[in-house]
């Protein structure tokens, strides 16, 4: 942990927070192209810590609550906002929206709208890494709701038995939509769960970006040297409802208050200040930089024309045989 780490960690977390606050604003202004939008405010330390542990050649799979994962992986805020606003300059030509936001050139294999649906995809990316010896690790992020889906069991088992370079990270924000974690499963820690697959299981404070980073980095190193997958449970909290229009009536206000006291951004700022990693000036500069980046992003997105009607009908199929050149180009840009 040092100045460089702190700059990056705070930069990512601020950008995620500001992006999502701004997203809620433009959503209320009726500027988004879709009604589907899930924010991860409160969970920024998980996205930042996990993505900072990645190398350029690595892969990432993400969820319906995935803005933060793409931002921490280096996604362009303007193209992200353009995607949310349904512009063709958006990452998915304005066709994917918030839930499917993706930049494949960053090894980001997609934000996925099916809870747990991408865990098998992460295993496939890991399988190909092993077969092709491409030295890539796949970071598979999913929420607590995914843990109780059948594919979770299949995927972790297969990754473990093949010793694949995959790091499974449960971003446990305590609620699968409205169902609390304690009512989703009696096995609430991840160390126990991982033991069933004979893989290391780590429970980490998801509000502590340094702790998440440490756990993710160790797991990635283990995966990269061929020692197989790890299951990390990053325990965090969703400060807002599941989606727009969810007032979280099922949550205890006292519980919400306690978690909000553990907001990952002020927590990290205090720590960085006391450890001497960052000065007040450093933090003010990072804040100003993030605000400017966000203003630019909204401006970029608003200035772009809406997607052409034809975009609705394009790309149902890839041109036959055209695949390899396209993909190789993508990969050469990593």
């Amino acid at each position: 942990m040092n100045h460089e780490f702190a700059v990056q960690a705070l930069r990512h977390m601020l950008r995620i927070r500001l992006f999502e606050e701004r997203t809620l604003e433009v959503l209320m202004q009726g500027k988004l192209a879709s009604t589907m939008c899930h924010v991860s405010i409160g969970q920024e330390a998980v996205a930042a810590g996990v993505c900072m542990a990645m190398q350029p050649q690595d892969y990432l799979t993400s969820t319906h609550r995935g803005h933060g994962h793409l931002i921490a992986r280096g996604g362009d805020l303007g193209r992200m906002m353009a995607e949310l606003m349904g512009k063709e300059t958006g990452y998915c030509k304005g066709r994917g929206g918030s839930m499917h936001i993706t930049d494949m050139a960053l090894g980001h294999l997609g934000a996925n709208g099916i809870v747990g649906g991408h865990i098998g995809i992460a295993v496939g990316a890991g399988l190909w890494s092993k077969l092709s010896a491409n030295n890539a690790v796949t970071m598979c992020l999913f929420g607590d709701g995914a843990v109780t889906e059948g594919v979770f069991h299949e995927a972790l088992n297969m990754a473990a038995v093949f010793r694949l370079p995959v790091v499974f990270v449960c971003e446990n924000n305590q609620y699968a939509m409205s169902l609390p974690w304690s009512k989703s499963t009696p096995a609430v820690d991840f160390k126990t769960r991982a033991a069933a697959y004979a893989m290391p299981g780590i429970d980490v404070d998801g509000q502590d970006v340094a702790a998440v980073y440490q756990a993710a980095r160790e797991a990635a190193e283990r995966a990269r040297r061929g020692d197989g997958p790890t299951l990390i449970g990053a325990h965090t909290y969703r400060f807002f409802g599941h989606s727009r229009g969810d007032p979280s009536a099922y949550r205890d206000p006292e519980e919400e208050r306690r978690w909000r006291e553990r907001d990952p951004i002020p927590l990290f700022k205090a720590r960085a200040l006391s450890a001497g990693w960052l000065s007040q000036d450093d933090m003010a500069a990072l804040e100003a930089d993030a605000r400017q980046a966000m203003d630019d992003a909204v401006q970029f997105a608003e200035a772009a024309p809406p997607a052409r009607d034809a975009v609705a009908f394009e790309d149902v199929y890839a041109p036959s045989g055209a695949h390899s050149a396209e993909r190789e180009r993508q990969h050469s840009t990593l």
Binding site: G110, G120, G126, D315, S320
Partner: protein
């Protein structure tokens, strides 16, 4: 040309593609040492090793999911699901993931994978091992669906599928694996999305695919003895569907029967009949007839099973029904 069985033609396609492209690999249950439940992959483990012929745990969802993921990052997976019935476990990976990824992510990435599985009756395998579920897959934009009936097409279409660059559902029929036929040697490709006229005739068109084609051909023989010349079309691919070939034939014969082993309700027969009505309403002399399985599950009893699925006699009867209409046009 070499005469070989349908399963050997499939194996030859896999072997040639694995030799041609080091990115091609196989994964599935019991495909390695066991050689595949229907012996399609027999010997490939010995030839290519465990890195390219991967025996997986019993995990259909993740077999398909892993194929999707590997395809996205550089592999050319050919996944085998032992019975199409087991696809019920894996539909999210195929339908919500494989079929959607290219479109949903703005064309940023392709999913060049082949999902091989087998379906159909003939072994008294019962309600959970005998269904014909092609209509599940044709309903999904983003998938291509291939249903070969002959050994040469089994080879040519499987090779084309592996090279296509899209998620492909390749449906074999368990009753055809031992079927023998001439198969071209070497790099033989059958185009995806092209039907074939399997038998020429002027009086009525019988449209089918997979094992249904053989029932249609048998019916055409019977009809010929009664003086009716049936044209028989092998669709070969259901999605994309080669409607041009179908319409060209029916425009000429003006009567049609669609035959498939899948249940009638929601089956391809309804789709093809509707398309023919749209294209040729004024030209048709009779309503398009459909011959499919009755809407019941399949019993684990070879004799009872035969009562449910189409046979040549039912096709002949349907043809005669179509021929019985006379309409001044």
């Amino acid at each position: 040309m070499t005469v070989m069985m349908f399963r050997d033609a499939l194996r030859q396609a896999l072997r040639e593609e694995m030799q041609r492209d080091p990115r091609v690999f196989l994964l599935g249950e019991d495909i390695g040492r066991y050689g595949g439940a229907y012996a399609v992959t027999k010997g490939l483990l010995e030839e290519f090793g465990p890195q390219r012929v991967i025996d997986t745990p019993m995990s259909e969802g993740t077999i398909v999911g892993a194929a999707v993921g590997a395809a996205m990052v550089g592999g050319r997976p050919v996944a085998e699901i032992m019975y199409v019935d087991f696809m019920a476990y894996a539909m999210d990976q195929l339908v919500n993931q494989a079929a959607k990824i290219h479109y949903m992510f703005g064309g940023q990435i392709n999913v060049p994978m082949v999902l091989r599985t087998q379906q159909g009756t003939g072994r008294g395998a019962g309600a959970q091992h005998s269904q014909s579920l092609e209509a599940w897959f044709t309903h999904i934009p983003g998938l291509k669906v291939i249903v070969p009936a002959m050994p040469d097409d089994a080879k040519g279409l499987l090779k084309a599928a592996i090279r296509d660059g899209n998620p492909i559902v390749f449906l074999e029929h368990k009753g055809l694996y031992a079927l023998k036929g001439e198969v071209p040697d070497g790099d033989y490709l059958t185009p995806i999305g092209a039907a074939r006229v399997a038998r020429a005739g002027d009086d009525i068109t019988l449209i089918s695919y997979s094992r249904g084609l053989h029932i249609a051909l048998e019916a055409a023989e019977t009809l010929a003895r009664a003086g009716v010349q049936a044209e028989v079309i092998d669709l070969r691919t259901l999605k994309p569907l080669d409607l041009d070939t179908v319409i060209r034939s029916v425009e000429h014969t003006r009567r049609a029967v669609v035959i498939h082993e899948a249940v009638l309700t929601g089956g391809l027969g309804g789709e093809i009949a509707a398309r023919l009505c749209e294209a040729l309403f004024d030209r048709l002399l009779a309503p398009v007839q459909r011959v499919g399985a009755f809407d019941v599950p399949l019993p684990a009893n070879s004799r009872l099973e035969k009562l449910i699925v189409p046979d040549a006699a039912r096709v002949v009867q349907a043809a005669h029904t179509a021929l019985s209409y006379s309409r001044s046009a």
